[in-house]
Symmetry: C2
Subunit: 213 residues, 2 copies
DNA sequence: TTATTATTTAACAATATTGTTAAACATTTA
DNA sequence: TAAATGTTTAACAATATTGTTAAATAATAA
């Protein structure tokens, strides 16, 4: 009988699950204890308080979420390559971790100070990564490599198309009566569409629009 | 001295504000009372319990959110017109109500039964609206009016590009050190970009892509 | 084996949050 | 005006949730 995970791991796994699906306020220490198959006192023995546990999970998730973005944004590739990498990377990461974005957004909304503290504490700087991408976009616009697009607009488009489907997935599944598996298949098949749409939007082309009149 | 709003309105306004910004679990009856400038007992006198109050606010917001979508989706327009209307409508609505999508998504995630109950109770049926749009898209694809795109993909693209920027706005503002006013300006200027991008993606065009090789 | 240490639990304590009530105060109406 | 009704509050009660402790059990080291 391979009992693999020890108590500490069991607790962390349970906490991860409960916190990411319910968020801090709605999570109960008892939910975590039950999920881990043990007594509430035990999780206090291992991790002092709810706050401390949440902090651990949040840091971990925060790292996962921003480290990969940052690495793509600050790589050596040009803008179009980064666009492709970002979209693929998000999809792969979020298919494994569908609750991640909502968890992080809610946590940051609930206490923005925490976000600021963490970006300082960890050697992950979304601010810097975004800024350097911003500059690169402006440069490529000036060089005529891509159309004249505002960096913020491009970033927002990529993030929106990649992340939103995971944020709204339960509602979407509900409205359209489809299972998570089916939904993820739709998303998987959608990746190339998204890539094409964003890349297309970067092409310098004078006569492709305004034909509706 | 025009004292306009009565106690009941004061409470509802406060509840609206607190619930939509914090969500059910993190909201405190005391937050609402303070926001309304009164005693906690008074809000119980008017609205029995926290659950009941939340239900009122949720129904209201749910209606606002889905009524306008449904009306656009089930109108007489063709797909391209609907795309334009949807994107404009979302922007106008969310600029007034930026917390709306996150509030609804979190509430639906927390209790999907509630969502189902409400769609039945109210004469608002996102399910039907989505379905009819779905069929219309397939029809226009067959007629050659728009490119061969999966209805789900189109809907997801529109919703993503329109809604996500509001969901992630606090994080985005934080990362890029910009105020809400500045951010909303960026979004305002982005509308036409989004419309163009989505419409462009619907055009039947054989030689606009795959030029990167 | 026995002593020591780590793990686990049940029972308890403290705090936070919601909900109630009786009495004070204000407003309406007879 | 006085009775009746509606509004508001402070104080209290009940419940939910987190956190602690002492004692039992298991694991480890001497």
């Amino acid at each position: 009988m391979l009992e693999q995970e020890n108590t500490e791991e069991k607790i962390l796994n349970a906490a991860r699950k409960v916190f990411t699906s319910k968020g801090y306020a709605a999570a109960r220490m008892d939910d975590i204890a039950k999920e881990a198959g043990m007594n509430r006192a035990l999780i206090h023995y291992y991790f002092r308080s709810k706050d401390k546990m949440f902090q651990i999970i949040f840091e971990e998730k925060f790292r996962i979420f921003f480290l990969s973005i940052s690495s793509v944004l600050t790589s050596d590739n040009d803008v179009k390559e980064k666009v492709v990498n970002l979209i693929r990377m998000y999809f792969e990461q979020l298919i494994e971790n569908p609750d991640l974005p909502l968890f992080i957004i809610n946590a940051v909304n609930a206490s923005p100070e925490n976000f600021i503290k963490l970006t300082n504490k960890l050697n992950v700087s979304p601010k810097e990564a975004f800024k350097s991408f911003h500059i690169q976009v402006q440069k490529e616009v000036e060089e005529g490599k891509i159309r004249n697009i505002k960096p913020y607009v491009l970033i927002l488009n990529i993030l929106s198309l990649s992340i939103f489907p995971f944020i709204a997935r339960k509602m979407f599944m509900n409205i359209n009566n489809i299972s998570e598996t089916e939904y993820f298949e739709i998303l998987e098949n959608r990746i190339e569409d998204v890539i094409n749409m964003v890349l297309n939007d970067l092409i310098i082309d004078n006569n492709k629009l305004k034909d509706s009149k």
